[in-house]
């Protein structure tokens, strides 16, 4: 992005709610079933059918609003009218000028705050497949429609146009996804379409200028596509303006293969959706008790989980940059409770974080399934010197492979008896005796040679010596 231009980004994220049934009927909300098997008169739009609002969907939508610090408001549903074969009623029931959630915000991990304009409820459409060269409805040989997705509950989260870089947009979607998963509202699977992102992008020369004409980019199926598309679109708009042309307000399609956006339709031929109040539903007015009950069931959000770990690192003088990355990894993988439990069990926070971010993270599913007591016991063995780092890692791998167990017993099975103090002292003495030159340089202050001697001892003991104990013995002998 060129320094003399500023990028302005707002994102609209559609999130499928993880309910058992659809938004307005009792059909299963399932991905991947045989086409048109999870359907009924309602989600097929049969004459005479009527919508009945799914209470669980409202609760999940309220959970999203709560997690995004929104006001939860009395709301209504409207009809958004347009013809399309995947739309069973040829209108979509959606919240319009009175959304359930409004005026919230989301803080990126670096502290940058993105405003949330609204997070409203609506129903998903069916899925169309157009056979033929065009791949679009126009010019298709024939089209197939699967209504299994018709009526699946969605929440559309609309950010304010607060983001200024593609990185911020990426961070926003990553963090929002983590929040949606943490709130239990969604599985956050972009690849299955349960989370879909549209980006509104415009450019301007300076912060003092009004916003430029924006384009809406659709078909962003990953965080990577999002970043690429925004960067491409910004360059396209800048090039247009610099060559004396104007940006036309358009909906544009991201072509992942070609790496560019293409015009879908412009403002002039945008649909007139003829929104009006849905007469088949009544206003949705959650009372204070219901709002509180939903908030009470809401788990800890990722930001809170991260700051909880950062606070634990205060004892060792605060988190380093690499530890902040470890914190992010651990929270992202849902392993932060292991760190917290280990610290509560007396393990140092730096060790607990490092083992979790580096070793436990390699098999996060197994780590999450592990009895935290086994994990804490293992780290305690390492922290007290009963196991070396190498041994501790080996025992952890075994714990994962077995799906649990007693770390001390596994260590014994593997022959990882901690070395007695006498044999450690003797081995260190042997290493010194065999390398008098290195020893005298170490004694003269060449501290790097501590590693040389530790390595020799480790080799001689096949990793059973505790590195810290070896270092302590070397320092003692040097005097």
């Amino acid at each position: 992005m060129r320094a003399d231009w500023q990028l302005v980004i707002g994102l609209e994220v559609h999130c499928e709610l993880k309910t058992a049934t659809k938004l307005f009927c009792g059909c299963p909300n399932m991905f991947g079933d045989e086409p048109n098997t999870n359907v009924c008169p309602n989600c097929l739009g049969l004459p005479g059918s009527l919508p009945v609002l799914n209470q669980r969907a409202v609760e999940l939508a309220m959970a999203i609003g709560t997690a995004l610090q929104c006001d939860i408001l009395p709301s209504t549903f409207h009809r958004k009218n347009y013809f399309y074969p995947d739309q069973a009623k040829d209108y979509q029931i959606s919240q319009y000028d009175e959304p359930l959630n409004a005026n919230g915000h989301l803080d990126l991990p670096d502290g940058f705050r993105v405003g949330i304009e609204r997070a409203h409820m609506e129903e998903d459409t069916g899925k169309t497949t157009h056979a033929g060269a065009s791949g679009r409805i126009h010019g298709a040989d024939y089209s197939l429609v699967d209504y299994n997705r018709s009526g699946v509950p969605l929440v559309e989260i609309v950010s304010r146009p607060d983001m200024r870089t593609a990185d911020q947009a990426r961070a926003y979607v990553t963090e929002l996804r983590a929040i949606l998963v943490a709130s239990g509202a969604s599985d956050g699977k972009m690849e299955e379409g349960s989370m879909r992102v549209d980006a509104n992008v415009s450019v301007r020369r300076s912060t003092d200028d009004p916003f430029g004409t924006r384009c809406e980019i659709k078909n962003l199926n990953s965080v990577r596509s999002l970043g690429r598309a925004i960067e491409y679109e910004a360059e396209r708009q800048i090039a247009l303006i610099e060559s004396g042309e104007q940006v036309v307000q358009q909906t544009r399609h991201w072509d992942e293969g070609a790496g560019r956006t293409q015009a879908l339709r412009s403002k002039e031929d945008a649909y007139d959706y003829r929104y009006f109040l849905e007469p088949d539903l009544v206003p949705l007015v959650p009372d204070v008790e219901w709002i509180r009950a939903v908030a009470d069931t809401l788990g800890m959000m990722p930001a809170e989980r991260r700051s909880r770990l950062v606070e634990l690192l205060e004892e060792s003088g605060g988190a380093t940059d690499s530890q902040l990355l470890q914190v992010a990894t651990v929270v992202d993988l849902g392993l932060d409770d292991l760190v917290v439990e280990a610290v509560a069990g007396g393990v140092g926070s730096a060790l607990a974080l490092a083992r979790t971010a580096n070793e436990a993270a390699t098999d996060a599913d197994a780590a999450r399934a592990l009895d935290p007591r086994s994990y804490v016991e293992l780290l305690t063995l390492e922290a007290t010197g009963s196991l070396s780092a190498t041994q501790a890692k080996a025992v952890l791998a075994e714990l994962f492979a077995r799906g649990g167990g007693d770390p001390a017993a596994i260590a014994r099975d593997k022959g990882f008896e901690a070395m007695s103090e006498d044999s450690l002292v003797a081995t260190v003495a042997e290493a010194i005796a065999a390398n008098p030159g290195e020893w005298s340089r170490f004694c003269e202050g060449d501290d790097k040679l501590a590693g040389f001697f530790t390595g020799l001892v480790m080799k001689a003991t096949r990793g059973q010596a505790n590195g810290k104990s070896v270092a302590a013995e070397l320092r003692r002998l040097r005097g």
């Binding site: 008169p41 097929l44 739009g45 049969l46 004459p47 005479g48 059918s49 009527l50 919508p51 009945v52 609002l53 009809r79 009218n81 013809f83 074969p85 069973a88 009623k89 040829d90 209108y91 409805i137 126009h138 010019g139 298709a140 089209s143 429609v145 007139d272 003829r274 009006f276 007469p279 088949d280 539903l281 009544v282």
Partner: protein, 488 residues
């Protein structure tokens, strides 16, 4: 044919084992056989379905079980109520061949009450009309004079009851589509409070106005049917989750001490013979102990204009689904969009197209506030006007329709004049209030006149009490005489 026996009496006899449901049914099938060619009340007579239900009812009685309050009573259904595996056409080509996979809630309740579903009645296409002439399957004729319309849009149901084809029928009333044909056919027709009868399975015309209600030859029979179909339904989000007034038990309570307001705005546009009958009904109520006074609700004069913005607006959205993709008619074309257009062009009649276009226009960007939203504001004003009147009146009284039945073909080319037929019925739909039409003797032309009683929300009990008093005072009306082949 003979004067129809009340449904209440039939049900009582069938439940007591004094008459067989199959005999009741065969009698009505014979009446249909003799007269249907002249009237065309039905799109479909469900003979075998009704026979099988009749046998079930008789078997239940024989086994000592009570089949329910409508045991053995044939009931005709307007053809916009979904019936499982029985065609439901809304009298439109666009639903040709469609078999609903489910029953409307009212149909389920009728089945559970032991009623016999005798057929699906003709109607204006998608309930849009006041004469049943916009049906894609031909007009229905008024049993009192087959050169006249039966009213509409539930003209088939009204005519079926008037002709003795069925003692009871259901219609739907969006702007008067039960009450106006009831008046023109000389039967009782009632539109309940919005939300008291489930709309689940009623093919929508204008969702915020549509309400299902009963047709019967007497106030008591209408009350019996209303009690069966009313009540909360979790499948309809606009269904009222509160006790529905049970009306049958209060019919004999009288009107002593009630205040009845004659609605002057309704009288102003009505024909003199109709006005005279309404005044006669008012006198009868005064004689029975009610205080009668004139009441003005000026806002109701805005009703017709507001209705023809709101109802088409909702209809344009409700009828969007008939696109040829999933069910009903499909006219093939080169691509999907062309297929949608070809299907809708061929499948809808002129009146339906007119209202879809009107409704699309009033909801369009730039016009919505001037038309649709303005109409919603008028709607609120009408509710306020009625509320003020009901502060000192228990019920309001006026004509149901401005005239008696008009001739077939009279108004088909003049939609605005046709729309005026509903000027007295529309305000109750906009307000969501109940209203009932009670036959009150003939007009100067010998054809039936209906007087209308209006009440505030959930005042069905009061309305039926007053209706019973009006009915008792009504001048005699000739029983229709139908002979096969009488119609031109």
């Amino acid at each position: 044919m003979t004067a129809p026996r009340p449904a209440l009496e039939t049900a009582t006899m069938v439940r007591a084992g004094e008459e067989l449901a199959v005999d009741v049914l065969e009698h009505h099938l014979a009446v249909i056989d003799a007269g249907e060619e002249s009237i065309h009340a039905f799109n479909l007579v469900t003979t075998e379905l009704a026979r099988s239900q009749a046998r079930t009812v008789d078997a239940a009685v024989a086994a000592g079980r009570d089949p329910g309050p409508l045991a053995g009573v044939p009931v005709a259904l307007k053809d916009n109520m979904c019936t499982r595996r029985v065609p439901t056409t809304c009298s439109s080509r666009i639903l040709e061949g469609w078999l609903p996979p489910y029953d409307a809630t009212v149909v389920t309740r009728l089945r559970d009450a032991g009623a016999l579903l005798i057929g699906k009645t003709n109607m204006d296409e998608f309930a849009m009309g006041s004469s049943t002439e916009s049906s894609a399957y031909g007009a229905t004729r008024n049993p009192h004079d087959t050169s006249r319309v039966p009213g509409g849009s539930s003209g088939g149901s009204a005519a079926a009851v008037a002709a003795g084809f069925a003692p009871l029928a259901l219609g739907s009333d969006t702007g008067g589509s039960i009450r106006q044909p009831a008046a023109l056919c000389g039967v009782v027709g009632m539109k309940p409070t919005y939300g008291t009868v489930s709309r689940y399975g009623l093919v929508a015309f204008a969702s915020s106005l549509d309400q299902i209600g009963p047709f019967a030859t007497s106030v008591a029979d209408a009350a019996l049917l209303f009690d069966v179909i009313g009540g909360y339904d979790p499948l309809d989000s606009t269904s009222l989750n509160r006790p529905t007034p049970r009306v049958l038990s209060v019919l004999d309570d009288g009107v002593d001490g009630m205040t009845v307001g004659i609605l002057t705005e309704f009288m102003d546009g009505a024909a003199p013979d109709v006005v005279a009958r309404v005044n006669q009904a008012a006198e009868a109520l005064a004689t029975a102990g009610a205080r009668v006074e004139e009441v003005s609700v000026p806002e109701v004069t805005l009703g017709l204009s507001a209705y023809y913005l709101i109802a088409p607006g909702e209809a344009s959205s409700n009828l969007a689904r008939y696109d040829g993709v999933r069910y009903g008619l499909r006219v093939d074309a080169e691509d999907t969009v062309a297929m949608n257009t070809a299907t809708r062009s061929a499948g809808f009649g002129a009146e339906v197209k007119r209202r879809i276009m009107l409704g699309t226009y009033v909801l369009s960007a730039g016009y919505m506030d001037a038309y649709y939203n303005q109409a919603l504001r008028v709607r609120t004003r009408i509710i306020e006007g009625f509320t003020a009147a009901y502060a000192h009146c228990d019920v309001l009284l006026g004509p149901t329709a401005p005239t008696t039945a008009f001739a077939l073909g009279d108004k088909v080319d003049d939609p605005l004049t046709m729309y005026l037929s509903d000027v007295c019925t529309i305000p109750s739909n906009l307000a969501g209030h109940p209203a009932v039409s009670v036959p009150f003797g003939p007009g100067d032309d010998g054809l039936p006149v209906g007087v209308q009683l209006l009440g505030p929300a959930l005042s069905e009990g009061t309305l039926f009490k007053v209706a019973a008093v009006v009915e008792a005072a009504a001048p005699d009306l000739a029983v229709p005489r139908i002979t096969a082949g009488e119609a031109a």
